[in-house]
Symmetry: C2
Subunit: 210 residues, 2 copies
Protein backbone atom coordinates (compact mmCIF):
# COMPACT_ATOMS: atom_id res chain seq x y z
CA UNK A 1 0.00 0.00 0.00
CA UNK A 2 2.23 2.80 -1.27
CA UNK A 3 1.30 6.46 -1.48
CA UNK A 4 1.21 6.02 -5.24
CA UNK A 5 -1.46 3.36 -4.85
CA UNK A 6 -3.46 5.59 -2.57
CA UNK A 7 -3.19 8.53 -4.95
CA UNK A 8 -4.22 6.36 -7.86
CA UNK A 9 -7.15 4.95 -5.90
CA UNK A 10 -8.26 8.52 -5.15
CA UNK A 11 -7.75 9.56 -8.75
CA UNK A 12 -5.29 12.32 -7.91
CA UNK A 13 -1.56 12.80 -8.44
CA UNK A 14 0.93 11.50 -5.89
CA UNK A 15 2.14 15.03 -5.23
CA UNK A 16 -1.36 16.30 -4.64
CA UNK A 17 -1.75 13.81 -1.82
CA UNK A 18 0.70 15.84 0.22
CA UNK A 19 -1.33 18.98 -0.13
CA UNK A 20 -4.11 17.27 1.79
CA UNK A 21 -2.00 15.22 4.19
CA UNK A 22 1.23 16.00 5.96
CA UNK A 23 2.70 12.53 5.57
CA UNK A 24 1.80 8.91 5.09
CA UNK A 25 1.20 8.44 8.78
CA UNK A 26 -1.54 11.06 8.60
CA UNK A 27 -3.13 9.30 5.65
CA UNK A 28 -3.16 6.00 7.51
CA UNK A 29 -4.47 7.71 10.63
CA UNK A 30 -7.30 9.28 8.62
CA UNK A 31 -8.11 5.91 7.08
CA UNK A 32 -8.18 4.30 10.49
CA UNK A 33 -10.38 7.07 11.80
CA UNK A 34 -12.90 6.51 9.03
CA UNK A 35 -12.78 2.77 9.47
CA UNK A 36 -13.14 2.77 13.25
CA UNK A 37 -15.87 5.43 13.23
CA UNK A 38 -17.77 3.50 10.61
CA UNK A 39 -17.60 0.32 12.65
CA UNK A 40 -18.28 1.90 16.01
CA UNK A 41 -21.38 3.65 14.72
CA UNK A 42 -22.65 0.35 13.40
CA UNK A 43 -21.92 -1.25 16.75
CA UNK A 44 -23.53 1.51 18.77
CA UNK A 45 -26.73 1.45 16.75
CA UNK A 46 -29.64 0.64 19.06
CA UNK A 47 -30.82 -2.84 18.33
CA UNK A 48 -34.18 -3.05 20.00
CA UNK A 49 -35.30 -6.61 20.68
CA UNK A 50 -32.89 -8.84 18.85
CA UNK A 51 -34.03 -11.73 16.73
CA UNK A 52 -31.70 -14.20 15.13
CA UNK A 53 -32.57 -12.98 11.66
CA UNK A 54 -31.97 -9.35 12.53
CA UNK A 55 -28.71 -10.27 14.18
CA UNK A 56 -27.47 -12.16 11.13
CA UNK A 57 -28.30 -9.29 8.80
CA UNK A 58 -26.60 -7.04 11.28
CA UNK A 59 -23.44 -9.15 11.08
CA UNK A 60 -23.70 -9.12 7.32
CA UNK A 61 -23.59 -5.33 7.46
CA UNK A 62 -20.61 -5.42 9.78
CA UNK A 63 -18.62 -7.79 7.63
CA UNK A 64 -19.50 -5.84 4.50
CA UNK A 65 -18.10 -2.71 6.11
CA UNK A 66 -14.96 -4.46 7.19
CA UNK A 67 -14.62 -5.98 3.75
CA UNK A 68 -14.41 -2.50 2.24
CA UNK A 69 -11.40 -1.78 4.39
CA UNK A 70 -9.70 -5.10 3.71
CA UNK A 71 -6.61 -3.48 2.20
CA UNK A 72 -6.21 -1.38 5.28
CA UNK A 73 -6.55 -4.46 7.45
CA UNK A 74 -4.08 -6.37 5.33
CA UNK A 75 -1.31 -3.88 6.07
CA UNK A 76 -2.48 -3.06 9.55
CA UNK A 77 0.30 -4.99 11.26
CA UNK A 78 2.94 -2.91 9.47
CA UNK A 79 1.16 0.34 10.17
CA UNK A 80 0.91 -0.49 13.87
CA UNK A 81 4.53 -1.50 13.96
CA UNK A 82 5.60 1.77 12.34
CA UNK A 83 3.42 4.05 14.46
CA UNK A 84 3.15 3.35 18.21
CA UNK A 85 0.55 6.08 18.65
CA UNK A 86 -1.70 4.38 16.12
CA UNK A 87 -1.06 1.07 17.84
CA UNK A 88 -2.42 2.53 21.05
CA UNK A 89 -5.51 3.88 19.34
CA UNK A 90 -6.10 0.56 17.65
CA UNK A 91 -5.76 -1.27 20.92
CA UNK A 92 -8.39 0.96 22.51
CA UNK A 93 -10.59 0.53 19.46
CA UNK A 94 -10.49 -3.27 19.71
CA UNK A 95 -11.33 -3.08 23.39
CA UNK A 96 -14.43 -1.03 22.62
CA UNK A 97 -15.42 -3.34 19.79
CA UNK A 98 -15.09 -6.38 22.03
CA UNK A 99 -17.00 -4.69 24.84
CA UNK A 100 -19.81 -3.69 22.51
CA UNK A 101 -19.81 -7.14 20.97
CA UNK A 102 -20.24 -8.64 24.40
CA UNK A 103 -23.24 -6.41 24.95
CA UNK A 104 -24.80 -7.61 21.70
CA UNK A 105 -24.20 -11.25 22.51
CA UNK A 106 -25.54 -10.49 25.97
CA UNK A 107 -28.75 -9.22 24.44
CA UNK A 108 -29.00 -12.34 22.34
CA UNK A 109 -28.67 -14.31 25.53
CA UNK A 110 -31.39 -12.27 27.24
CA UNK A 111 -33.66 -12.92 24.27
CA UNK A 112 -33.09 -16.64 24.67
CA UNK A 113 -31.41 -16.93 21.27
CA UNK A 114 -28.10 -18.18 22.55
CA UNK A 115 -27.31 -20.14 25.66
CA UNK A 116 -23.85 -19.32 27.01
CA UNK A 117 -22.23 -18.60 30.34
CA UNK A 118 -20.07 -15.50 30.80
CA UNK A 119 -16.87 -17.27 29.95
CA UNK A 120 -18.25 -18.87 26.82
CA UNK A 121 -19.59 -15.51 25.73
CA UNK A 122 -16.15 -13.98 26.08
CA UNK A 123 -14.51 -16.82 24.15
CA UNK A 124 -17.13 -16.60 21.44
CA UNK A 125 -16.67 -12.86 21.15
CA UNK A 126 -12.91 -13.07 20.73
CA UNK A 127 -13.24 -15.83 18.15
CA UNK A 128 -15.82 -13.82 16.26
CA UNK A 129 -13.49 -10.86 16.18
CA UNK A 130 -10.56 -12.95 15.02
CA UNK A 131 -12.68 -14.30 12.23
CA UNK A 132 -14.09 -10.93 11.19
CA UNK A 133 -10.78 -9.12 11.24
CA UNK A 134 -8.74 -11.87 9.58
CA UNK A 135 -11.11 -13.33 7.05
CA UNK A 136 -10.51 -10.81 4.30
CA UNK A 137 -6.71 -11.00 4.44
CA UNK A 138 -6.81 -14.77 4.72
CA UNK A 139 -9.07 -15.27 1.74
CA UNK A 140 -7.22 -12.62 -0.20
CA UNK A 141 -4.03 -14.62 0.26
CA UNK A 142 -5.62 -17.88 -0.79
CA UNK A 143 -7.43 -16.46 -3.77
CA UNK A 144 -5.35 -13.62 -5.22
CA UNK A 145 -7.28 -14.12 -8.44
CA UNK A 146 -10.40 -12.94 -6.63
CA UNK A 147 -9.24 -9.32 -6.65
CA UNK A 148 -11.44 -7.42 -9.02
CA UNK A 149 -13.95 -10.21 -9.54
CA UNK A 150 -16.91 -8.76 -7.71
CA UNK A 151 -19.07 -11.88 -7.75
CA UNK A 152 -16.33 -14.06 -6.34
CA UNK A 153 -15.41 -11.33 -3.92
CA UNK A 154 -18.89 -11.13 -2.47
CA UNK A 155 -19.12 -14.88 -2.38
CA UNK A 156 -15.97 -15.10 -0.29
CA UNK A 157 -17.32 -12.49 2.08
CA UNK A 158 -20.53 -14.46 2.51
CA UNK A 159 -18.49 -17.52 3.31
CA UNK A 160 -17.09 -15.47 6.17
CA UNK A 161 -20.58 -14.98 7.54
CA UNK A 162 -21.16 -18.68 7.18
CA UNK A 163 -18.10 -19.33 9.33
CA UNK A 164 -19.42 -16.99 12.00
CA UNK A 165 -22.69 -18.91 12.00
CA UNK A 166 -20.65 -22.08 12.50
CA UNK A 167 -19.07 -20.44 15.53
CA UNK A 168 -22.43 -19.67 17.07
CA UNK A 169 -24.38 -22.71 15.97
CA UNK A 170 -23.79 -24.88 19.05
CA UNK A 171 -25.11 -22.17 21.34
CA UNK A 172 -28.29 -21.41 19.41
CA UNK A 173 -31.65 -22.08 21.00
CA UNK A 174 -35.33 -21.76 20.21
CA UNK A 175 -36.25 -19.62 17.23
CA UNK A 176 -32.66 -19.40 16.06
CA UNK A 177 -32.33 -23.15 15.81
CA UNK A 178 -35.36 -23.28 13.53
CA UNK A 179 -33.93 -20.72 11.15
CA UNK A 180 -30.45 -22.18 11.31
CA UNK A 181 -30.67 -24.39 8.25
CA UNK A 182 -32.12 -21.59 6.15
CA UNK A 183 -29.37 -19.26 7.25
CA UNK A 184 -26.61 -21.74 6.61
CA UNK A 185 -28.03 -22.55 3.20
CA UNK A 186 -28.28 -18.87 2.41
CA UNK A 187 -24.61 -18.22 3.02
CA UNK A 188 -23.29 -21.63 2.09
CA UNK A 189 -24.85 -21.67 -1.34
CA UNK A 190 -22.57 -18.92 -2.50
CA UNK A 191 -19.37 -20.39 -1.21
CA UNK A 192 -19.91 -23.84 -2.65
CA UNK A 193 -19.99 -22.44 -6.13
CA UNK A 194 -17.11 -20.10 -5.59
CA UNK A 195 -14.36 -21.40 -3.38
CA UNK A 196 -12.98 -24.71 -4.36
CA UNK A 197 -10.39 -24.67 -1.69
CA UNK A 198 -11.66 -23.29 1.51
CA UNK A 199 -13.52 -26.26 2.54
CA UNK A 200 -15.29 -29.25 1.44
CA UNK A 201 -16.88 -29.21 -1.97
CA UNK A 202 -19.09 -32.24 -2.48
CA UNK A 203 -17.47 -34.76 -4.75
CA UNK A 204 -14.10 -33.06 -4.74
CA UNK A 205 -12.63 -34.45 -1.55
CA UNK A 206 -9.11 -35.74 -2.17
CA UNK A 207 -8.60 -37.55 1.12
CA UNK A 208 -11.52 -39.91 1.20
CA UNK A 209 -11.72 -39.16 4.86
CA UNK A 210 -15.34 -38.24 4.98
Amino acid sequence: MTTNHIAEALGISPGNLYYHFRNKGMIVAALFERYSQHLLILLEAPQGPLTWTIKTHYFEGLLTSMWQYRFFHRDLTHFLHADPALAGRYQAFVEVVLARGRVIYGELRSSGIIDVDDEQLQGLMVNTWVLMSSWAALVHGLRPDAAGDETLDESLMRHGIYQIICLEEPFLRGEAREHLEDMKARYRAAHDTATLLLGHVPGLDRTGSE
Copy 2:
Protein backbone atom coordinates in the same frame (compact mmCIF):
# COMPACT_ATOMS: atom_id res chain seq x y z
CA MET B 1 10.89 -8.35 6.49
CA THR B 2 13.78 -7.00 4.42
CA THR B 3 16.81 -8.99 3.29
CA ASN B 4 18.80 -6.97 5.82
CA HIS B 5 16.56 -8.24 8.59
CA ILE B 6 16.95 -11.80 7.40
CA ALA B 7 20.72 -11.47 7.17
CA GLU B 8 20.87 -9.97 10.63
CA ALA B 9 18.65 -12.72 12.02
CA LEU B 10 21.01 -15.29 10.50
CA GLY B 11 24.04 -13.44 11.81
CA ILE B 12 25.59 -12.95 8.37
CA SER B 13 26.15 -9.98 6.10
CA PRO B 14 23.47 -8.88 3.63
CA GLY B 15 25.80 -9.59 0.73
CA ASN B 16 26.55 -13.07 1.96
CA LEU B 17 22.86 -13.88 1.77
CA TYR B 18 23.12 -13.80 -2.00
CA TYR B 19 25.87 -16.36 -2.05
CA HIS B 20 23.43 -18.86 -0.58
CA PHE B 21 20.25 -17.70 -2.33
CA ARG B 22 19.65 -16.42 -5.81
CA ASN B 23 17.13 -13.77 -4.80
CA LYS B 24 14.63 -12.86 -2.15
CA GLY B 25 11.98 -15.02 -3.70
CA MET B 26 14.21 -18.05 -3.19
CA ILE B 27 14.72 -17.12 0.45
CA VAL B 28 11.00 -16.85 1.02
CA ALA B 29 10.41 -20.10 -0.87
CA ALA B 30 12.97 -21.87 1.32
CA LEU B 31 11.35 -20.46 4.43
CA PHE B 32 7.94 -21.61 3.26
CA GLU B 33 9.35 -25.04 2.47
CA ARG B 34 10.72 -25.39 5.97
CA TYR B 35 7.53 -24.11 7.52
CA SER B 36 5.19 -26.32 5.51
CA GLN B 37 7.34 -29.43 5.90
CA HIS B 38 7.55 -28.83 9.62
CA LEU B 39 3.79 -28.54 9.90
CA LEU B 40 2.92 -31.36 7.55
CA ILE B 41 5.19 -33.78 9.38
CA LEU B 42 3.48 -32.84 12.62
CA LEU B 43 0.11 -33.36 10.98
CA GLU B 44 1.02 -36.70 9.42
CA ALA B 45 2.35 -38.10 12.66
CA PRO B 46 0.38 -41.25 13.52
CA GLN B 47 -1.82 -40.50 16.44
CA GLY B 48 -2.89 -43.87 17.72
CA PRO B 49 -6.05 -43.75 19.80
CA LEU B 50 -6.74 -40.10 20.47
CA THR B 51 -7.62 -38.82 23.91
CA TRP B 52 -8.61 -35.29 24.65
CA THR B 53 -5.45 -34.67 26.63
CA ILE B 54 -3.19 -36.01 23.89
CA LYS B 55 -5.05 -33.95 21.34
CA THR B 56 -4.66 -30.74 23.33
CA HIS B 57 -0.93 -31.28 23.77
CA TYR B 58 -0.79 -32.06 20.09
CA PHE B 59 -2.41 -28.73 19.30
CA GLU B 60 -0.02 -27.03 21.66
CA GLY B 61 2.83 -28.45 19.59
CA LEU B 62 1.21 -27.26 16.39
CA LEU B 63 0.65 -23.75 17.62
CA THR B 64 4.17 -23.57 19.03
CA SER B 65 5.54 -24.48 15.61
CA MET B 66 3.40 -21.92 13.87
CA TRP B 67 4.37 -19.36 16.46
CA GLN B 68 8.01 -19.73 15.47
CA TYR B 69 7.13 -18.74 11.94
CA ARG B 70 4.94 -15.85 12.96
CA PHE B 71 7.04 -13.28 11.09
CA PHE B 72 6.72 -15.32 7.95
CA HIS B 73 2.97 -15.53 8.43
CA ARG B 74 2.74 -11.82 9.10
CA ASP B 75 4.12 -10.98 5.66
CA LEU B 76 2.61 -13.96 3.91
CA THR B 77 -0.03 -11.92 2.12
CA HIS B 78 2.62 -9.76 0.48
CA PHE B 79 4.76 -12.73 -0.46
CA LEU B 80 1.81 -14.47 -2.07
CA HIS B 81 0.85 -11.33 -3.90
CA ALA B 82 4.37 -10.90 -5.25
CA ASP B 83 4.90 -14.53 -6.28
CA PRO B 84 2.01 -16.37 -7.97
CA ALA B 85 3.95 -19.64 -7.97
CA LEU B 86 4.28 -19.46 -4.21
CA ALA B 87 0.60 -18.60 -3.96
CA GLY B 88 -0.25 -21.82 -5.75
CA ARG B 89 1.98 -23.86 -3.47
CA TYR B 90 0.47 -22.21 -0.42
CA GLN B 91 -3.03 -22.92 -1.66
CA ALA B 92 -2.20 -26.61 -2.06
CA PHE B 93 -0.56 -26.61 1.35
CA VAL B 94 -3.66 -25.23 3.04
CA GLU B 95 -5.80 -27.82 1.30
CA VAL B 96 -3.63 -30.60 2.68
CA VAL B 97 -3.62 -29.08 6.14
CA LEU B 98 -7.40 -28.82 6.14
CA ALA B 99 -7.79 -32.35 4.82
CA ARG B 100 -5.46 -33.72 7.47
CA GLY B 101 -7.18 -31.64 10.13
CA ARG B 102 -10.49 -33.14 9.12
CA VAL B 103 -9.00 -36.60 9.55
CA ILE B 104 -7.85 -35.71 13.06
CA TYR B 105 -11.20 -34.29 14.03
CA GLY B 106 -12.74 -37.37 12.44
CA GLU B 107 -10.68 -39.58 14.73
CA LEU B 108 -11.78 -37.53 17.71
CA ARG B 109 -15.32 -38.14 16.61
CA SER B 110 -14.72 -41.88 16.28
CA SER B 111 -13.29 -41.90 19.78
CA GLY B 112 -16.44 -40.26 21.06
CA ILE B 113 -14.60 -37.14 22.16
CA ILE B 114 -16.48 -34.75 19.97
CA ASP B 115 -19.98 -34.95 18.61
CA VAL B 116 -20.31 -33.26 15.22
CA ASP B 117 -21.89 -33.96 11.86
CA ASP B 118 -19.84 -33.67 8.68
CA GLU B 119 -20.78 -30.09 8.05
CA GLN B 120 -20.03 -28.98 11.60
CA LEU B 121 -16.69 -30.73 11.39
CA GLN B 122 -15.82 -28.81 8.24
CA GLY B 123 -16.88 -25.51 9.79
CA LEU B 124 -14.92 -26.25 12.94
CA MET B 125 -11.84 -27.16 10.92
CA VAL B 126 -11.87 -23.94 8.92
CA ASN B 127 -12.39 -21.86 12.04
CA THR B 128 -9.55 -23.66 13.78
CA TRP B 129 -7.26 -22.92 10.85
CA VAL B 130 -8.27 -19.28 10.75
CA LEU B 131 -7.49 -19.00 14.43
CA MET B 132 -4.17 -20.84 14.22
CA SER B 133 -2.90 -18.98 11.20
CA SER B 134 -4.05 -15.52 12.27
CA TRP B 135 -3.53 -15.53 16.01
CA ALA B 136 0.14 -14.64 15.98
CA ALA B 137 -0.21 -11.69 13.62
CA LEU B 138 -3.32 -10.47 15.41
CA VAL B 139 -1.77 -10.55 18.84
CA HIS B 140 1.46 -9.12 17.49
CA GLY B 141 -0.48 -6.13 16.23
CA LEU B 142 -2.32 -5.60 19.50
CA ARG B 143 0.71 -6.04 21.69
CA PRO B 144 3.77 -4.76 19.81
CA ASP B 145 5.47 -4.44 23.17
CA ALA B 146 5.36 -8.24 23.47
CA ALA B 147 8.14 -8.69 20.91
CA GLY B 148 11.18 -9.92 22.76
CA ASP B 149 9.41 -10.55 26.04
CA GLU B 150 9.49 -14.33 26.10
CA THR B 151 7.15 -14.79 29.04
CA LEU B 152 4.49 -12.55 27.58
CA ASP B 153 5.05 -14.10 24.19
CA GLU B 154 4.41 -17.60 25.41
CA SER B 155 1.46 -16.42 27.41
CA LEU B 156 -0.14 -14.95 24.31
CA MET B 157 0.45 -18.17 22.43
CA ARG B 158 -1.24 -20.13 25.20
CA HIS B 159 -4.19 -17.79 24.97
CA GLY B 160 -4.43 -18.93 21.36
CA ILE B 161 -4.81 -22.52 22.51
CA TYR B 162 -7.45 -21.39 24.96
CA GLN B 163 -9.40 -19.86 22.09
CA ILE B 164 -9.21 -23.12 20.16
CA ILE B 165 -10.60 -24.92 23.18
CA CYS B 166 -13.44 -22.41 23.20
CA LEU B 167 -14.14 -23.32 19.58
CA GLU B 168 -14.39 -27.01 20.39
CA GLU B 169 -16.00 -26.82 23.79
CA PRO B 170 -19.64 -27.10 22.69
CA PHE B 171 -18.92 -30.32 20.81
CA LEU B 172 -17.03 -32.10 23.57
CA ARG B 173 -18.44 -35.25 25.09
CA GLY B 174 -17.54 -37.83 27.70
CA GLU B 175 -14.00 -37.85 28.96
CA ALA B 176 -13.21 -34.55 27.29
CA ARG B 177 -15.97 -32.76 29.11
CA GLU B 178 -14.57 -33.92 32.45
CA HIS B 179 -11.11 -32.56 31.67
CA LEU B 180 -12.46 -29.39 30.11
CA GLU B 181 -12.27 -27.18 33.18
CA ASP B 182 -8.71 -28.29 33.94
CA MET B 183 -7.67 -27.59 30.38
CA LYS B 184 -9.29 -24.19 30.27
CA ALA B 185 -7.74 -23.28 33.59
CA ARG B 186 -4.37 -24.43 32.37
CA TYR B 187 -4.37 -22.14 29.36
CA ARG B 188 -6.47 -19.36 30.80
CA ALA B 189 -4.31 -18.84 33.85
CA ALA B 190 -1.50 -17.49 31.72
CA HIS B 191 -3.59 -15.14 29.67
CA ASP B 192 -5.33 -13.53 32.60
CA THR B 193 -2.06 -12.39 34.00
CA ALA B 194 -0.65 -11.27 30.70
CA THR B 195 -3.14 -9.77 28.32
CA LEU B 196 -5.17 -6.98 29.70
CA LEU B 197 -6.87 -6.32 26.48
CA LEU B 198 -7.77 -9.48 24.67
CA GLY B 199 -10.65 -10.36 26.73
CA HIS B 200 -12.26 -10.01 29.96
CA VAL B 201 -10.08 -9.51 32.97
CA PRO B 202 -12.09 -9.89 36.19
CA GLY B 203 -12.79 -6.54 37.77
CA LEU B 204 -11.65 -4.59 34.75
CA ASP B 205 -14.79 -4.61 32.67
CA ARG B 206 -15.66 -1.12 31.47
CA THR B 207 -19.14 -1.80 30.17
CA GLY B 208 -20.83 -3.30 33.17
CA SER B 209 -22.57 -5.62 30.78
CA GLU B 210 -21.66 -8.85 32.43
